[in-house]
Point group: none
Chain length 169, copies 2
DNA sequence: CAGACTATTGCATATTTATTCAATTTCTGG
DNA sequence: CCAGAAATTGAATAAATATGCAATAGTCTG
């Protein structure tokens, strides 16, 4: 598994289950089929801006910092900004670390304006998600490839095309 | 010095200067005339709910959790957050009370990440509207059902299929 | 393809933080 | 004041996290 996608998974995990320590995280990742050591867990947590403290019940827990805390070190390179790209119909959904979506959307809009990305017509950003609209009704897949090629990083996930290996719970 | 007053001082310190470690805190307290060991520093920080992570410049820093990031569990799914769910093509539009969209979108993204919702790929939120993208070009209706089943008990509205109840609002 | 450069990772270890335990102080009700 | 209970603290240590370094894999350039 590639590092950016793993970081996305780490972010999702600490949002959805209580991760009290890095060893916890290592085990949770293993359940998802991702094997790393505490070393990498530590780096991932630092890089996505995770914080550690005690929750209301007095147990340790990692959380994701607010949109302000985590991003400045990655602002220049879009590579760290782009965690995953998924296409569906005329849309592409791109995920970023928390707070990174506005920045990524700006770069995408610029690329559209300059013609570097030919198959997109615009984007809109939330906190960690950017939606990009393709020119044609089925242009999402092509647009996803363009985005990936431009911004570097991960292989494109196609939500429609092939069989998923994953079984849900 | 009395413990409560010292904790207040600790809180003030980590708000006003960069405290990168507990040894830092011990030194900062010493400058203020308060001598304690790392043991007490650790306890004080935990008791006031301080969090540790890297700041924008990549340096370690303690912060206070209250403002941005409470560690309390955010897992409650408030049903009154979801006012309506409507599908069209590969999209679902979910409405919330004013200001509730970000919260709902966060819950939806978690559900997607965890596999509870299998037919969605991502969501984006405004103020009272969340847009969710389905995996397939016509997957909106299915996704709407999944969302409704997960977050609420109300029937799904379809914008495309047939006669509507007139209760849009 | 070679060579050079970059990115990613784990191991070993340094650094940092949390906790156990015992000593000491403070509080409380007679 | 006194006996006991509770709170507070530090020293030692356990536990957890971060990092230097080297190995490996991937990428680029000619």
């Amino acid at each position: 598994m590639n590092p950016a996608a793993r970081k996305q998974l780490v972010a999702d995990l600490i949002k959805s289950v209580t991760i009290a320590s890095q060893e916890d995280l290592v085990k949770a990742l293993k359940k998802k089929g991702v094997e790393v050591t505490q070393t990498t867990a530590s780096r991932d947590l630092l890089e996505i801006g995770a914080l550690r403290g005690k929750d209301g019940s007095g147990r340790f827990r990692y959380i994701l910092g607010g949109t302000t805390s985590s991003l400045s070190s990655q602002s220049s390179r879009s590579k760290n900004l782009l965690l995953s790209v998924t296409a569906s119909g005329n849309l592409v959904v791109a995920k970023t670390p928390p707070g990174g979506a506005q920045l990524l959307a700006g770069q995408i809009d610029q690329a559209i304006a300059s013609g570097e990305i030919a198959s997109g017509i615009g984007s809109i950003a939330g906190d960690d998600t950017v939606m990009v609209v393709a020119k044609t009704a089925t242009g999402g897949a092509l647009l996803a490839k363009e985005l990936t090629a431009l911004l570097d990083g991960d292989p494109v996930k196609s939500a429609e095309k092939k069989t998923q290996k994953k079984r849900s719970r």
